[in-house]
Amino acid sequence: MRVRFVLSQIGNGLRRNLAMAVSVVLVTFISLAFVGAAILLQTQISNMKDDWYDKVEVSIFLCPASSSVPNCAGGEATEEQVEDLQAVLTSDALSDYVDEVYVESKEQAYEAYLEQFGDQDWAQSITAEQMQMSLRVSLVDPEMYQVVADEVTGRPGVEYVVDQRSILEPLFLILNRATLLAAGLAALMTVTAIMLITTTIRLSAMSRRRETSIMRLVGASNLFIQLPFMLEGALAALLGALLAAGGLWLGVRYIIEDWLASSVRWVNFVSTSDVLLIAPILIGIGIVLAAISSLVSLSRYTKV
């Protein structure tokens, strides 16, 4: 009897305040969509870091025959210098950081070069002799690049050290900025959602004041009186969260999986399964939103 009664109360409330209920659903939808987008962007960043940081290496370019760098005044790096450097990199001091070291000879550099640009006309004029010899170092933890760079920079035969990771940094910077933007909008929309749900519940309570005063008179408990309002808010927020999850799913499905992933193949993009993973988070946030709003708006109706 009680459950049926509460359910019919909720039905009445939603029907009477349909426009408000719809607006609550939409605002929750948009705010949670931004929250979800921020989480997806971060997932994307960590995906890319996982993928690429394994592949990136520190390149130690060795002095070529002619160089303007003071460290290379002695001309091309000698065999001895190369061996010394290898010894330093494989020494105990660096063994915690360095995973693997190999030498890329001029010929290997030339092959890699041809593979990349070989079909271009201008590439034909370059000879193997013009390529630069380098040591390639893969790191245990790519973030520890600086330790290795400090150790080898300035040693005889080293022209300069390049961390391939620095090439990726601008991309991550853009993605991080986008995350910030999405998170900022999410915060703003969340505040809006809380205020809107608060107002909606209050309006709903006002329009049913007569009913609630009678229920109070015949001895209904506070929880019993407030439950329908809380559930109304929770229901609207839940719908909004489901819409947000659905919207993100569609977005990832059609924009990223169908379009971006097929045209940009070298990136491991987020997928719809990531969206399914964050859906419970969004629903949880939606329910928390509704709960906070109910507490705020109903506290003044708890007076008996």
Binding site: M1, F5, R216, G219, A220, S221, N222, I225, V304
Partner: protein, 229 residues
């Protein structure tokens, strides 16, 4: 059943008290008229019994419990022992007669089968058999008040408070309502009725408590409305 011990109620600081040092005891099964002009403190008295207000000083006992000791979340339980009837009926306009009475049982979680049997019984008792499906606006004022009384009585409360229940009704209808309240009283229910209907008070010959400006000036068994002081 109801005991007031030197109860005062001041709404606004510095204002004249709505109730001033009122001490009163109402026994189980009594029928008490609370008379006095508007603003004499009748409604405040009833609100204190319902614990819609707390006294500024003094203590109120209802059904043996000191209301000052009843925690806020237990107030609903207190109210389940008290039925209320008002001058303006306070029915839900969109619900039928049956639903208006049933709500009093539903909100306190009475099982469905009990609601289905008790509500028609109570409606028959108040003389509304066969009108279960009507809406309040399809009923006369007297009938609406009978619905309100049915709602107040359906849970068989120990106390019924009536705040000018005949205030909106013509004399003939009022007599019917009073007969009904009298019948409820005969079941052992304590009734406190605030009124300024002198004819009714004079006819019924029950205990009369008169309030003037918040002070109890008269407490008379088998009294009349305007007795000499």
């Amino acid at each position: 059943m109801i005991r007031f011990k030197k109860v005062s109620k001041v709404y606004a600081r510095g204002a004249r008290p709505a109730l001033d040092q009122v001490s009163l005891e109402v026994e189980r099964g009594e029928f008490v008229f609370l008379v006095g002009a508007s603003g004499s403190g009748k409604s405040t008295f009833l609100r204190l019994v319902l614990r819609e207000e707390r006294p500024t000083s003094g203590s109120v006992f209802v059904a043996g419990r000191d209301l000052a000791q009843v925690s806020t979340w237990k107030v609903p339980h207190l109210r389940r022992q008290i039925g209320c009837v008002f001058q303006d009926f306070r029915l839900l306009p969109t619900k039928t007669v049956f639903e208006n009475v049933a709500i009093a049982m539903q909100v306190i979680g009475k099982p469905r089968h009990q609601v289905m049997t008790t509500v028609p019984e109570t409606l028959e008792m108040v003389g509304l058999a066969g009108k279960e499906k009507r809406l309040p606006h399809e009923l006369s004022g007297g009938e609406q008040q009978r619905v309100a009384i049915a709602r107040a009585f359906v849970n068989r409360p120990a106390i019924v408070l009536a705040d000018e229940p005949t205030g909106n009704l013509d004399p003939t209808t009022s007599v019917g309502i009073m007969r009904l309240l009298d019948r409820i009283n005969r079941t052992g229910t304590t009734i406190v009725m605030a009124t300024h209907d002198d004819e009714i008070v004079d006819q019924m010959r029950k205990r009369v408590v008169e309030l003037v400006d918040g002070q109890m000036v008269r407490d008379q068994d088998r009294g009349v409305y305007g007795a000499a002081r």
